[in-house]
């Protein structure tokens, strides 16, 4: 199996990122929005790994771990908020959270 070229890998990362972002835009459910964000973050992680591989350094992987950690923290907090969101708004539709405007 021929090694995957870095550029193709980056394409995948781009695709993942864009998909994740589209997810954020089109999904109304807060949980799905958070999941889409995870996808975006992971796309960034993937890109780091690929970049690291490109330059033959471990830095990219280190960064990926950092991203993973922060993503986990975000998700932890996010899920807490989701619970309260559901409690207060009786829905997970993000559009419901538009009390403040103008």
């Amino acid at each position: 199996m021929a090694p995957v070229s870095i550029d193709n890998g980056l394409m995948v990362a781009w695709a993942l990122f864009v998909l994740g972002f589209i997810g954020v835009l089109v999904r109304r459910d807060l949980v799905f929005v958070l999941m889409s964000i995870e996808v975006m973050l992971n796309a960034a992680g993937l890109a780091f790994i690929l970049a690291g591989a490109k330059w033959g350094k471990p830095d990219g992987q280190v960064m990926f771990i950092f991203i993973l950690a922060t993503a986990a923290a975000e998700v932890a907090l996010g899920l807490g908020l989701v619970l309260r969101f559901h409690h207060k708004f009786k829905t997970l539709d993000t559009d419901a959270a538009s009390k403040m405007r103008g």
Partner: protein, 477 residues
């Protein structure tokens, strides 16, 4: 990493330690106030440590952090902002009947994150600092659990900040892929070559930064978050979180000579001018105080971005001065809202503070000083700050941007004056009393009053005798 590096790192370490201590205090000491004490004392000690560690500068602490005068200046600002917020939050949360403990932990953490950000020299520290800051902020914004607006604000911030962080990280990866280094200074000095993906990466980093600085078109979250968050938290979001990112941007963008790069400089200029106009116009007839300040902060960051588009030595001086003035004024302004609140009810609308001067002349005076400083009127720090920006613009012959800035200053003045006019309006019995403000109830806590007084004094002193601060800023160059 030897002892010297550790000493240089002392402020951040001390804040982190305070965070841990505060956590322990929350867990093990029954007193509600203990964590607040810990945080306040922690901030003070950390601030003092700046002077202790001062002789060790400048020093690179691992490739990740650079501790020099510049970093210290901004870390100092951030710590002071943290201290002020902590002192303001204490009485505020007491009035709300919200637990103090975790908040102070979060505050310390976010300050640690901001400080890291301000001192970061590497993508990794950038990423870490930013995330520590952001994650703490999510919680702080939604800290007042029963408040539905806080929840809404927190959710919005969580989603949008995460998205923007994803943009930022992806951009970093792209740049790394393009140039093979994550050293900020290296990238700044050597540039990104002709790599298109790296260029796209830089653009995406700009997006992440733009979000944190609430620049157009990434500003949309600002009013909602500012309005929803408890006022002390808003003060923090408006000041420290922006200051840290701005410090980073100022250092590396200027180092990279972005103002000479053509395309990117134009992007910055466009974003800057758009931020000024959109921020100010949105604030112009705004009746909601916190939203008004939110929009005005968009404009202020627009002014600051102009500095980066101008670049040069002057940008450092102007940036430092402006940020200091802006910190004092914006924290003070939200502090007054916090001080005037009764429990969960804040003086949201302009009508709520109408005639404030007749109830509480001191607070009205402080508020006027803050707003005039934000408007850039003499006798306040804001004037010197704005003077420096205009001065920089003129020295770079940026006539049109400066004229834009002037137009926006005038629009800005219009709404600040609207607020001041409301404050000094004679109380009309049927109009006033739209809400029972804290001032009327006579419940302004001594702490917040003191903090506000100090901020006002700083604002005025920096407006009258600028060399005080200028000397410090000049060391950072």
């Amino acid at each position: 990493m030897g002892a010297r590096e550790l000493i240089a790192l002392l402020p951040i370490i001390l804040i982190s330690v305070s965070a841990v201590l505060a956590m322990l205090a929350t867990a093990f000491i029954k007193s509600e106030s203990a964590p607040a004490y810990v945080s306040a004392i922690g901030f003070v000690i950390a601030f003092i440590s700046l002077f202790v560690a001062y002789p060790e500068l400048p020093r690179a602490v691992t490739p990740l952090l650079i501790m020099d005068y510049f970093s210290y200046f901004y870390i100092g600002l951030i710590i002071l902002a943290g201290l002020a917020v902590s002192l303001l939050a204490y009485p505020d949360f007491k009035k709300r009947g919200v637990r103090q403990g975790e908040f102070h932990v979060l505050l310390l953490l976010s300050v640690a994150g901001s400080a890291t950000l301000a001192a970061s020299a590497h993508f990794a520290s950038f990423l870490l600092g930013l995330e520590i800051l952001s994650v703490s902020l999510y919680a702080m914004i939604a800290y007042d659990r029963p408040d539905i607006k806080g929840l809404e604000a927190g959710t919005k911030y969580l989603v949008l900040a995460s998205v923007s962080a994803a943009f930022l990280f992806f951009g970093m990866a792209m740049v790394y892929a393009g140039v093979g280094t994550m050293d900020l200074a290296g990238i700044a000095v050597n540039g990104i070559g002709g790599s298109i993906s790296a260029l796209a990466g830089i653009a995406m980093i700009l997006v992440g930064i733009g979000f944190k600085l609430a620049l157009v078109p990434f500003h949309m979250w600002t009013p909602d978050v500012y309005e929803g968050a408890p006022s002390p938290v808003t003060a923090f979001v408006a000041s420290a979180s922006k200051g840290a990112v701005f410090a980073l941007v100022l250092r590396y963008f200027t180092q990279a000579g972005i103002h000479d790069t053509g395309a990117l400089a134009y992007v910055l200029l466009a974003v800057s001018i758009a931020s000024m106009f959109i921020g100010n116009l949105l604030a112009l007839l705004q009746e909601n105080l916190k939203r008004l300040l939110a929009y005005s902060s968009i404009a202020h960051l627009g002014y600051l971005l102009l500095l980066i588009a101008a670049g040069g030595r002057g940008a450092f001086i102007a940036g430092g001065y402006y940020l200091a003035a802006y910190f004092a004024a914006i924290i003070g302004a939200f502090g007054i809202i916090s001080a005037l609140s009764t429990g969960r009810k804040e003086p949201r609308m302009l009508d709520d503070i109408r005639g404030l001067a007749w109830e509480s002349p001191w607070l009205a005076g402080f508020l006027s000083a803050m707003l005039l400083s934000l408007a850039g009127i003499p006798l306040t720090a804001g004037f010197i700050a704005k003077f420096y920006i205009i001065s920089l613009g003129i020295s770079k012959a940026m006539w049109w941007p400066v004229i834009m800035l002037i137009i926006n200053s005038v629009i800005g003045l219009a709404y600040y004056l609207r607020v001041i006019a409301a404050v000094y309006e004679r109380p009309q019995k049927e109009l006033f009393n739209a809400m029972q403000t804290g001032a009327e109830a006579g419940k302004i806590s001594l702490i917040s009053g003191g903090v506000l007084a100090v901020l006002s004094v700083i604002t005025v002193i920096l407006g009258i005798y600028p060399p005080l601060l200028l000397k410090i800023i000049e060391r950072t160059l």
